[in-house]
């Protein structure tokens, strides 16, 4: 699709089928604990698109589920687990036992991974960093090379640039052209969107372009970078989206308990993803009272600013 098209609205199944391809490096969970694109990652699992190499800072059980589904061949990440409870059991099994398939892991720190994407976003082959010098993360890794700075003589790290084929990004608002507005801590969303060859944007609400234009500072991902925009209310559940819903901690705890056993992990995937036809059906499985409890209960609207001339 033309990057400057005014209408990039697609259904999520359509967008995933078109933009995510076997062999791709896919950036997910770029907002760290919040905004995790679960609607999109579940659709990847439903369509069985793999093998993929996943790029993520902490990305949480989103990665663990794709790994459990046997769709990941590699991970380039700073942390893979469950933010509520710690361990990602599918990740652990894949690395330790090669089940359900072997997984190649390239370790990063959160900052070095951000810098790798930032270098990619600028079309440069490397970034410069001091961290994580001294860590075994850099030992024998093709992503890191210590070097001596020609200006200062300091020992520094050359961090290899990353350009994901696809970034999955979830935001609060987007217009049909894919101008995505987000508020709240954004992790490395900007860097991932700029570095990726394709961006699949999911949003809580599709809004008129005038809503975007009324507050251009809030545009986190400009439509220029976006290939498809898919309305996906509750699209980051069970992670949080500022102004819409809070973390569903019980969901993380339940996934942890069930995914500890490999067969139960598969049963979980079946129940919540493979035999659940779409996001609407997923949400219908959640008790409405439970969702209501996650919604904003202590409003704190920000003040409008003057943007005129």
């Amino acid at each position: 699709m033309d990057k400057t098209s005014r209408n990039k609205v697609m259904s999520l199944p359509e967008a995933v089928a078109e933009l995510v391809r076997p062999g791709d490096k896919v950036a997910v969970g770029c907002g760290l604990e919040g905004f995790i694109p679960f609607a999109a990652s579940h659709e990847i699992i439903r369509q069985g698109i793999g093998p993929l190499t996943l790029i993520a800072p902490i990305s949480n059980i989103c990665l663990d589920q794709i790994i459990a589904a046997g769709l990941a061949q590699g991970v380039i990440a700073a942390w893979v687990g469950n933010v509520s409870t710690g361990v990602g059991y599918a990740f652990r099994r894949a690395v330790e036992e090669g089940r359900p398939r072997p997984l190649t892991v390239f370790n990063h720190s959160n900052f070095s991974l951000t810098l790798a994407l930032e270098a990619g976003s600028r079309g440069l082959p490397m970034a410069v960093s001091r961290t994580p010098l001294g860590s075994d993360i850099i030992r024998d890794s093709p992503h890191f090379q210590p070097f001596t700075c020609p200006h200062s003589g300091q020992r520094l790290l050359a961090v290899k640039a990353l350009n994901p084929e696809v970034a999955l990004i979830h935001v609060q608002l987007a217009d049909a052209a894919g101008n995505g507005q987000g508020w709240g801590a954004s992790g490395f969303t900007r860097q991932a969107a700029l570095a990726a060859r394709r961006v699949l944007l999911t949003c809580e609400e599709l809004v008129d372009s005038e809503v975007i234009r009324a507050d251009p500072d809030r545009t986190l991902v400009p439509g220029l970078l976006v290939d498809a925009v898919c309305p996906a209310p509750w699209g980051a559940h069970p992670s949080s989206v500022q102004g819409y819903y809070n973390l569903d901690n019980d969901f993380f705890v339940d996934y942890s308990r069930r995914s500890k056993d490999p067969e139960e992990a598969q049963a979980w995937l079946k129940e919540w993803i493979l035999e659940t036809p779409d996001r609407r059906a997923y949400l219908a499985k959640l008790d409405p009272a439970r969702l209501a409890r996650l919604e904003v209960s202590h409003p704190a609207p920000s003040s409008p600013v003057e943007y005129g001339w």
């Binding site: 961290t131 010098l133 801590a185």
Partner: protein, 251 residues
Amino acid sequence: MSHYTPAEIMVAAAARQIKDGEVVFVGMRLPLLAFNLATATHAPRALGLFENGVLRDRPAAAPIITMGDAPNQTHALKVCGLEEVMSMLSRGLVDLGFIGGAQVDQWGHVNTHRVELGGGRFRRLPGSGGGADIACLAGRLLIVMKHERRRLVPQVDFITSPGWGPRPGWRQEQGLTQGGPAALITSLGVFTFPQGRATLSSLHPGVSLEQVAAETGWELAVSPALQPTPEPTAQELEIIRRFDPQGFWTR
């Protein structure tokens, strides 16, 4: 006397490491509770940075499980991207940072990647997150960990977050120009790192030196100025329990 859990005395000891006006890179779990406790008591001007991109100087108004939880962003001073808070860390603007882990050694190296089980078997752990960045770049590193012999090991199986290294000057040789471990706070006591090696400097009430030696994998060095760790006060316990009402981390 108040009754408290090992995690609660760890939180109280960690909070005391935060001085008023300091810039703190806050982790989750016990370090978050320590930051909240410090700002509610002796360090009201401490500023907290969260790696997802949050700067705040007041505790969140409701309990949180992750730094991305909505209440941690409401009434923050700034929300931004990871690169902005990490730049502050890299510039040397952060006074102290907290990390935890599966293993720590006598030089303060921390492992959150991989534990060898023998016979070629190993346990894979989640990884660094921002831990390595904090260990490389924060002015002082505070390590918070349950005290068990399998965790306090002579040498970690994998250095995720670099400490002082086995010889003076090791950090500088790596290219690390700032920081280093200042304290290791465990469920039995507090170690400091004079000359870059862990030295027991305080013992929690009711804990014996023999117990610490038995649960420590390296040859225990004890400070001549060894002191008892102050117990958490009733007020401190009330604050800790307010931020962890279900005891998700401290029970």
